[in-house]
Amino acid sequence: MNQYQAFYQRIDKALQNDQLRRNFRSAMDGIRERRLAQFPDDRELQTLRFQAKGIRNRSLSRQAELLERLETKLTENGIQVHWAETPLQANARIHEILEAEQATSVVKGKSMVSEETDLNHYLEQRGIEVIESDLGEYILQMAQEPPSHIIVPAIHKNRFEVAELFQKFHPEQPYTDDVDELTGCARQVLRKKFAYADAGISGVNFAVAETGTLCLVENEGNGRLSTTAPRIHIAITGIEKVVEKLSDVPPLLEILTKSATGQPITTYFNMISRPRQPGEKDGPEQVHLVLLDNGRSRIRNDDELLDTLRCIRCGSCMNHCPVYVHVGGHAYGTTYPGPIGILLEPQRLGIDKVGSLTSACTLCGACGEVCPVRIPLPKLINRLRAEAVEATPGDNGVPGTGALRSRSEALIWKLWKQIYTRSRIYSAFKYLATRLRHIKPPISNGWTRYRPIPTPSSKPLSELARQQGYDDE
């Protein structure tokens, strides 16, 4: 099965699921409204977006230097730094750390980078118990599903589906589909895990080079628990998350939380700079940071596409995407769904693997309009479409460039070019199309599944304009 067929199957499955579509529609409507309420002054919003873009661009421009400074600072602070080029290297390193400490149970805070490396399965296969502690992630762990959204991972499930999962996995708890009671149930179940887990694994939102500080943004407190209660804390993040200065953090934090969930700030902003110090009574004895590349440094090859790396993972692009709202996150079939997924995943995994994602975009611009760091998402997605059908791929570009070029499609565009560049052929084409307008071409494609083939006018505008006396030059 080629990637398009697989993609169409996932889309079909999503579109057939009315419940899923209702869940996404109402969730996205709510998030959009809450975000908008945080930005009552559009001019201020636009300035804040420029500021955030500037900070991220500076971070990317000095990335090597900042990563080294980050490493130096963290090391001085007693945090151990590990580097990984591939997901496998990252997973193996994390496993080594756990093994050396005979850690057999792990609680996890939410981390999309660990989804990227499929860390849970890697550790589970090696006999380590891994518990997701973010409520959404925990629900998905019970359901054995990947996240469908990078911020609200279980957004595709309604409370009845969640209630069923709790009943199946925690029959000792009385059945409830009340959200407060379900939350209370999760609190009880997960407390026990936190109380005995050997290690906590988390992501990172910003890694500050200046002070050697790992910043985590969250509402639940599971991130704080994962990074405080167990004796080992391992953070994993992409190398692009480094920022230069502490003063870079407030503007990024503000636009992140407002864009992501419409909150002026999250409940917790957790800044970790050291492991437990002598005399301190809690906190992990060891703190590790795993810095993952996984294609990120390669994305910098391209002057245009490197804007992708500014992303601060707020999810606003998917919240506002008219395609995402209809099909949901799983239809994309990749770790990151929605517009940022369409842009990032083909660059990370290759056009030959997931380049078909670029077709799932109307270029409506809703994502680019809300992106807090002004990534020109539509423009870059369109650029990837060009990469996907490139006739003469070089070797320094996006992996798999040219993989989606088909001879028949290329021929259609060649023909199109012939018609639309030669006025005599174009006139003849229009003459035929208008005079034979009631003879519909025997085309049956996606368009005709939902709409009839449009009927040409009896005469084209070019003829009518001339008849009405408009000059032609």
Partner: protein, 213 residues
């Protein structure tokens, strides 16, 4: 593993990018008066389901003596610093005070299941977002503000800053940060089920700030 490091850094240096441009900054807000900061802090903390009580600085123990029994909060966790010591000496009716004076490893199950409320100080506050800033230390460890179902924090109203940026600058954070620095805005919450807000998923269900003036 050092080769991964070198490879990555080499690639980053090989692909030098220069995107730097003069950066735009948001002009700072008009400075708020002390009263305005108190009002904003209170409004914003309450907007995220936090409770704020403004009290004269010498009356917080009286407030607790009245409220803790009324709210059924009996098992009270305190730190080992001034706040904790004053509380320990206070003899509040029907309250048992537990000082966090041992490493967590020796009493983790008790902390997770038997404490009703923790009472801590705070470093400062942020009016713009209704935020408490804590720097947990050996006297007031990290889990105090996280594990018990209720967290009560004392905040000196003169330590209310306007914005997070101002805190970083005025408190000279760039010179170095302690083990853990926390911004807390409201009780623990989740909206992971149907986008419906529910409180106390992992951390406190209730956050009470005693704003001391």
């Amino acid at each position: 593993m050092s080769s991964a490091r070198d490879n990555i850094l080499q690639r980053l240096r090989g692909n030098r990018v220069d995107l730097e441009q003069p950066e735009q900054n948001i002009p700072p807000l008009e400075a708020w008066s002390a009263e305005q900061r108190i009002t904003r802090f209170t409004e914003n903390q309450e907007a995220v389901h936090g409770e704020v009580h403004t009290l004269p600085a010498d009356q917080w123990i009286d407030w607790l003596a009245k409220e803790l029994p009324k709210r059924g909060l009996h098992q009270v966790l305190t730190g080992t610093g001034d706040t904790g010591n004053q509380l320990g000496a206070s003899n509040i009716e029907s309250c048992v005070f537990h000082q966090y004076d041992q490493p967590i490893e020796s009493w983790k199950p008790e902390l997770f299941s038997q404490i009703d409320v923790a009472i801590t100080g705070s470093r400062c506050g942020i009016a713009e977002t209704g935020t408490l800033v804590l720097m947990p230390d050996r006297d007031e460890p990290r889990l105090m503000s996280l594990v018990p179902p209720v967290h009560i924090a004392l905040l000196d109203a003169t330590k209310l800053y306007q914005s997070f940026a101002e805190v970083i600058e005025e408190e000279r954070w760039a010179d170095g940060l302690p083990t853990n620095t926390l911004l807390i805005s409201g009780p623990s919450k989740t909206a992971d089920i149907e986008q419906t807000l529910a409180y106390g998923i992992h951390g406190p269900k209730q956050l009470i700030t005693l704003l001391l003036v």
